[in-house]
Symmetry: C2
């Protein structure tokens, strides 16, 4: 039976697959920083070449930003399987603070750890390692059977970490080419080690940034300390005003569109194997710090947030500078759930801040930042049950429909632009440190991830 031969092939070829992944990880394809444009191009070229080695008709497609990679391949002669679209992203997060990395972020290394072997590099987990689990499953399938199990369209973008500005226009212009029966996405994590997970709801995101200007110029804190408005104190006061002492966001209308978790889903979550203590203690927390009255898992999966991601102003160098700076800066993001609308919420947040601004304080907002609503999957489709059984077989543990704290806007865009349902299956672990120094991907996640996709493809093709 060909599936078992494919799985054996995957086991045999694991070292080669890890070498290929390392090649992709060596390319510093950071999309938020224009300094890495050429590296993003190189990562796209790398993927085009790799897909072509599978017999996929793949090409790099230009956009106003980073290029897309699109590839097509048919299934076996005369079969009538589904047409699947697989999505992943080849761009990665910035690496700062670089001094906290123990190894070079773009020199992947296989390490033995108390929890098994890992491959360590920026992008190892988010999303290059995950993306390659699907590609390697296809490769093994082809090596054994000569073809892929069904018709597949590959669709990789290079702007996921910078808000995917080119994605929707590109999908609109190429809707006919990209439309399929179902989208598969590998950019999510497992709810607990060894627990196969299909993400059924994802939080959306809203990004904003503002600058507070007080004095016209930087001032001497002796000459002006007291009479002058200090923008660092002003911005701290504004940031503090976003939450009350229970952790609830105080922006008027912030919770419009938020719904409580249905009881049946809640029961699944209560037994999904999520280890609250491990989740918290692994990052140095002894308790959840979100909205009081909600469990840690609900705070992460089903409650909206307003978080500060960057805050700066004044002197940051060695020693002291007795300055009252002219400017202070704040970057923030909100995680959205249910029917929260990013554009409406942006207006509410800006009004909250502007209503509380002190006299003589001026505010400017970054006008280039975007947002995306939360995404809830159509889990009634038969493919979800088929995939659940395939994952259960591979991991020998009941697969669960989970929520996701992170935003994967693409899932919503597939529905919105192409009318396409998406299924999110991923193998990342909570401790992968994605977006942080020393990001890693478990070799087991990579290996069993490839095997999982082989099983899922086999199941969906039938």
């Amino acid at each position: 039976m060909s599936l078992s031969a494919v799985l054996t092939r995957i086991d045999d070829q694991l070292p080669t697959a890890l070498d290929r992944l390392s090649g992709l990880l060596r390319i510093p394809s950071i999309s938020t920083d224009p300094a890495y444009d050429a590296d993003c191009e190189a990562a796209a070229d790398w993927l085009v070449n790799d897909l072509q080695s599978l017999g996929v008709k793949a090409e790099k497609r230009p956009t106003p930003g980073r290029p897309m990679v699109v590839g097509h391949i048919d299934g076996p002669e005369g079969t009538t399987g589904p047409h699947l679209l697989f999505y992943g992203h080849y761009d990665v997060q910035p690496v700062d603070p670089l001094d906290l990395w123990h190894t070079d972020p773009f020199t992947p290394e296989i390490e033995d750890t108390p929890h098994g072997k890992v491959i360590r590099a920026r992008g190892a987990s988010d999303d290059k390692g995950q993306l390659m689990t699907f590609v390697e499953a296809c490769r093994a399938y082809r090596d054994v059977t000569g073809t892929l199990p069904c018709r597949i369209t590959f669709f990789f973008e290079g702007e996921e970490e910078s808000g995917s500005p080119s994605l929707i226009p590109f999908m609109r212009e190429n809707a006919a080419e990209l439309t399929a029966d179902l989208a598969l996405i590998c950019d999510t994590s497992m709810v607990a080690p060894g627990v196969p997970s299909i993400a059924s709801q994802l939080r959306g995101m809203l990004k904003d940034e503002f600058t507070i200007t007080g004095p016209r110029i930087d001032l001497h804190s002796g000459h002006y300390g007291g009479p002058a408005l200090n923008p660092l104190r002003e911005i701290s006061r504004l940031i503090t005003s976003f939450h009350d002492e229970t952790g609830r966001v105080t922006v008027e209308g912030f919770y419009d569109g938020v719904r409580e978790v249905p009881a049946d889903l809640m029961r699944q979550w209560d037994t999904c194997g999520f280890d609250e203590q491990e989740y918290l203690s692994s990052v140095g927390m002894t308790r959840p710090h979100g909205e009081q009255g909600y469990s840690t898992l609900v705070q992460q999966w089903a409650r909206p947030t307003l978080e500060i991601n960057g805050l700066w102003g004044g002197y940051q160098g060695a020693g002291t500078k007795t300055v009252i700076p002219s400017e202070a800066h704040c970057k923030l993001t909100c995680r959205l759930v249910g029917d929260m609308d990013p554009d409406t919420l942006r207006a509410k947040i800006r009004k909250h801040v502007e209503d509380r601004l002190s006299p003589d304080a001026k505010i400017t907002w970054n006008q280039d930042l975007d947002g995306s609503p939360a995404a809830v999957m159509n889990t009634d489709r038969p493919e979800f049950e088929a995939a659940r059984q395939a994952l259960t077989a591979e991991w020998d543990r009941e697969a669960v429909l989970t929520g996701m704290g992170g935003s994967i806007p693409i899932a919503g865009f597939f529905k919105e632009v192409l009318g396409l349902d998406a299924m999110l299956i991923g193998f990342a672990q909570e401790d992968d440190a994605i977006h942080s120094p020393n990001e890693k991907y478990n070799v087991e996640s990579f290996h069993k991830g490839i095997r999982s996709w082989a099983r899922v493809l086999d199941a969906l093709a039938k």
Copy 2:
């Protein structure tokens, strides 16, 4: 009469004096940043050479930090004038943000402005330009009379902008050599354009810095947004807790040792020519933002402050990074008045912060920062009245005893270590932008400053 000949000489030699000042301003002697150590040495060497050209026995004296410059010269044969010690500092503040400078900070330029000619460079006003007013007065005096009017010790340091760590030990080790009848200091400003000012009370300073650590590592705001403690929100809350809505500092015991301004001094201040509207509007303020119930001048000269000088954490680069950072940082300084004790106050501020720390938040304090109490001058000494009359004659405007918002710790150290009273006479203007981009010194301040010192020296020598 030799004084008028000296004043004429000063007028004739002004261009040459400006050239000499430019030479000193070209040396980037930034003391807070070790990268400029060699430049601090070069500035000290420059001063040693310049003093030697006046016949002063001057030398560079090593310290664990930046070197001191000490020079001695006797007065005319057989005269019994006072022994004066003149103090200034050759180090300057950092220049960031560099992109806000319209000219190179270390390429001095003479500019015509609506308010007259200025010389623009970092240190032009604080303190190289002011220091040189005294040196040039001595030079003119010597050119005309062949000697200086009385015995003078020159004492220049290079760590004033970084807390003068070597100053007190050096003064203790060299107390006999540095002791004189009176210390003269030129590092202060005029209360209003054209109003000669003797600073009779200066605010002290306390410096501190802390880091808040929340999560063990930087976190993804999707995976941990909600449950994780965000140190940027935590530090904002702590900073906000320092003040109430009336601008009063809420740290328990903060105001211990603060006294109200005596009525007679208050009357002097009310008529000293301070232009509140100009002072505020020149930096974009429409009102004073310090403690309610105190005038702008009292907020600046006679009330203590707790100001934030630096605040940073998380992502500051282009675009967005959906991170909850592990750390947030805050630099603060307090301006002290009356009998406020820096060490006692430091403990109170740290207790205030630690009492309000959230669970799971850790705090570390910079242990290397210092403080100095406020300084009140002994204005009953006859030299003050003699100097007042000399300044009044030069500026044709009654000289006034003013307060100072800034800290000149040296004044207190002279008293504390050498038992030496100090007299602070300076010619800086509020709009000199010291510690800010585009620092300048009015050519009139430089020119009439030199003439003022010639008159003061002449008066004190008698």
